[in-house]
């Protein structure tokens, strides 16, 4: 045992890479192991009935049953809270499970939510098609239109929701302004910062109440797990934690282990994702076959000023339009790249590419796609951590075909 384990190192205050490796972990682990064990147990034993009673009377903090919590999971929750600069974190089996868990815990029939219309489409669908069945009223307003959002707030409004940056348009929300709206009207705010990550955006420092991530993306980072997380104040997350134990949308110990392992290289991966995203965006912006590039780090981006003020880097996601191309010619570009694989999702070490028209919006009518701002010639590229020159050479050959 190292001599100073009795003087805990304050990892919450350490720099990001140090926190990514160490925060949330006990210094002295089971069996003095350097890594945390994976607790697969579905249930936890008590030595005697007296300790059961002690536990039920909240005098003994400990585990009870796998659906209510798991030691491996708590380690990763603490690490995520530290990276985000929040008090507590709550893990779910997927990003959508986290959205469902939070919204169901917060909302009742008759309550209202206001969303920016560029939120993740399944979140909007959940509100419009499913929570509506339980009497929850949803108002969608144009992304980053703060006046429209304010006008949509009523005394029944319980939550303001946005994603930032948004997907696939990469619009960037002014988080302080968004948080200010919530404070002014006594309404909680939720930011889905999946594309932003705690490396690039700091919603809690801007005054946001809840930060949500599809940890399937950059946080896990290896395209090999599904997970969701909500970070926020301990007291506000407690009812959500209780509901998670009823809904049952807990993650698995093995997955959570891989998530924690992925977080150890979080800063490194983000630096490379940011560098690749920027280089690819700049390359595409100067390419004659490209009509338009959506990337918050480009001066031509409508939200460049907000992005520059509030983001440390601009991420690995780049969306672009192929000039004078119909959907088939656009698909031909997607089919011609060799390194990025055609797949939905983003944020992993492997680059992924997709044409929103054929991937997520195939079933929409042309009118609906116009409304969502999804032209036929749009391509979304999630830059992985491959070598920058390799990615650009690959795009060059694909665009030359």
């Amino acid at each position: 045992m190292s001599g100073k384990d009795d003087q805990p190192y304050e990892f919450d205050k350490a720099r990001l890479s140090t926190a990514a490796v160490h925060a949330g972990e006990e210094r002295q682990k089971n069996a003095s192991s350097i890594t945390d064990p994976i607790f697969c147990a579905s249930t936890y034993t008590f030595p005697d009935s007296a300790s059961v009673i002690e536990f039920v009377e909240h005098k003994l903090p400990r585990e009870e049953y796998g659906r209510y919590g798991n030691p491996s999971e708590r380690v990763v929750e603490r690490k995520l809270a530290a990276l985000e600069g929040g008090e507590a974190a709550l893990l779910f089996s997927s990003g959508m499970a986290a959205v469902v868990g939070l919204l169901m815990a917060k909302l009742s029939g008759g309550d209202e939510v206001v969303l920016f219309n560029e939120c993740y489409h399944r979140t909007r669908e959940l509100c419009a098609k499913h929570l509506s069945r339980f009497g929850v009223v949803t108002h969608e307003v144009p992304a980053c239109d703060y006046e429209a959002m304010e006008r949509a707030i009523t005394p029944r409004t319980r939550l303001l929701i946005s994603e930032s940056p948004t997907n696939p348009h990469l619009s960037v929300v002014d988080l302080e302004r968004f948080a200010g709206l919530g404070r002014k009207h006594g309404v909680d705010t939720l930011i889905d910062a999946t594309l932003g990550t705690p490396y690039n955006v700091r919603p809690i420092e801007a005054g946001i109440d809840y930060v949500l991530h599809s940890a399937t993306k950059y946080l896990g980072g290896h395209n090999d797990l599904l997970a969701g997380v909500i970070i926020g104040p301990t007291d506000k997350l407690e009812p959500v934690r209780k509901l998670r134990g009823i809904l049952g949308s807990v993650n698995s110990p093995h997955n959570v282990y891989l998530l924690g392992r992925g977080l150890k290289t979080f800063e490194l991966r983000m630096e490379r994702h940011n560098a690749n995203g920027r280089a690819v965006a700049e390359f595409l912006a100067s390419h004659p076959r490209i009509e338009r590039v959506y990337y918050p780090g480009l001066e031509t981006h409508p939200y460049y000023d907000v992005a520059k003020r509030t983001m440390r880097g601009f991420g690995g996601l780049v969306t672009f339009l192929v000039k004078d191309a119909d959907w088939k010619q656009t698909a031909a570009v997607v089919d011609a790249v060799r390194i990025p694989r055609i797949a939905p999702s983003l944020g992993g070490v492997e680059s992924l590419i997709e044409q929103p028209l054929v991937m997520s919006y195939y079933e929409c009518t042309p009118e609906e796609r116009r409304q969502f701002g999804i032209p036929d010639n749009m391509i979304r590229l999630s830059c992985g951590v491959e070598n920058t020159e390799d990615l650009i050479a690959d795009l060059t050959q694909a665009l030359e075909r």
Binding site: K4, R15, I34, T35, R261, T265, L268, E350
Partner: protein
């Protein structure tokens, strides 16, 4: 189908090829064959396993080799390489090879009539030539070497070994293929303790051999299959996952190590810093040639203090953990005199340059400033 049959077969159709972006983890011990007597690519997991093969293919490509084999530990990999030898053969090895390799050569292989000579290959590859006999079949070196980060000229040793019709094996654990690719420098076998940088997260044991010759690969595979110390599928998966960030990790950890080495060298409490990236390091020129852009993430330094002071320093860090092993995201340090080289007689230890005040540091991914501050407070507490 009855319940128990469904429970075993439904949803377990072989190879559905779902296009998963990450290959599946194949836990199967055995593989169904189409025809008696005609083996398919996989027949039994000791002989070959798709998850292990996927990792082996990646590491072979990273090492500039054509074939690789994955093992249950670094020592299992080294043992397999030694299985190429026969009674009466002779091995020439660097004097600062890993202690476990020393133990294998001196206390196990000696029972089988294999002889070994240790030479200071890092001083001069001629030392290797001088020790070679007509029975020398294998030269085994390590660079950087432990714990003084001695640098051995791999290309020169390959030439010497080949002149004597021996093969050259290089333990590339410290340098990793991100920085040194011994096969490209003429080595015949490259070995790794994948426990270290390849896995990279202190959460598995593993070993690797990589080669660029099909016939040698075949002999090694025969020995691996015959002796059986293969890497398991879960470890293979974690190694594959680790490889995806190998270069990022090793370069970042090396940059931090280099900054720490400079900081330590300028500190009055430190008598000496052993880091190949520093000009005064005896192996600097070779390292600059042989290593690709960085000098690795391992360093050692000698305190201006005695055994007790060094012991207090390694026990007094708060961020850096006291542990043997190396190469992971978390920084680790140790005192060779009391830990990795404690079994040496003090005189022998000193003769090898392993002083009482020597401390070895495996630099992880933490921020340079946090590591520096941690060492600084440990020095202040231990040395006043």
């Amino acid at each position: 189908m009855q319940f128990r049959t469904r429970a075993i077969h439904v949803g377990n159709e072989p190879d559905p090829r779902p296009g998963a972006v990450v290959p599946p983890i194949h836990l199967a011990a055995t593989y169904v064959q189409n025809e008696a007597g005609v083996l398919q690519e996989f027949d039994y997991s000791r002989t070959g396993n798709p998850t292990r093969k996927s990792f082996e293919e990646t590491i072979a490509a990273l090492e500039g080799g054509t074939h690789a084999l994955a093992f249950a530990s670094g020592m299992a990999a080294t043992t397999c390489a030694m299985m190429l030898l026969a009674s009466g053969d002779h091995v020439v090895a660097g004097s600062d090879i890993y202690g476990g390799t020393y133990r294998l050569l001196h206390n196990v292989l000696d029972h089988f009539g294999i002889e070994v000579s240790l030479v200071r290959a890092s001083d001069d590859p001629k030392r290797v030539a001088e020790a070679m006999t007509p029975r020398t079949k294998l030269v085994w070196i390590e660079s950087p070497g432990n714990p003084l980060m001695s640098i051995t000229d791999i290309a020169a040793c390959a030439e010497v070994a080949h002149q004597g019709r021996a093969i050259l094996g290089v333990d590339n654990t410290f340098a990793t293929p991100a920085l040194t690719r011994p096969l490209e420098l003429g080595a015949d076998i490259v070995m790794h303790s994948a426990t270290k940088y390849i896995g990279g997260h202190s959460d598995l044991l593993g070993g690797v051999l990589a080669v660029r010759d099909a016939e040698l690969a075949e002999r090694l595979h025969f020995a691996q299959n015959a002796t059986g110390a293969v890497m398991g599928p879960l470890e293979s998966y974690l190694c594959s996952r680790g490889l995806k960030t190998l270069e990022l990790r090793v370069r970042e950890q090396s940059r931090t190590a280099s900054r720490l080495a400079d900081w330590l060298a300028a500190d009055k409490r430190i008598a000496r810093v052993n880091y190949p990236g520093r000009r005064e390091h005896p192996g600097h020129a070779i390292a600059a040639r042989q290593m690709d852009g960085e000098f690795g993430a391992m360093l050692s330094f000698e305190l201006n203090g005695d055994f007790a002071a060094a012991k207090r320093v390694v026990e007094g860090t708060r961020l850096i953990r006291l542990a043997v092993s190396l190469g992971a995201v978390e920084s680790l340090l140790e005192q060779p005199a009391s830990m990795s080289h404690a079994s040496y007689a003090r005189e022998d230890r000193l003769a090898h340059g392993i002083t009482d005040g020597l401390i070895r540091l495996s630099v992880g991914l933490e921020a340079f400033e946090d590591l520096r501050d941690d060492l600084d407070q440990a020095f202040a507490d231990a040395m006043g």
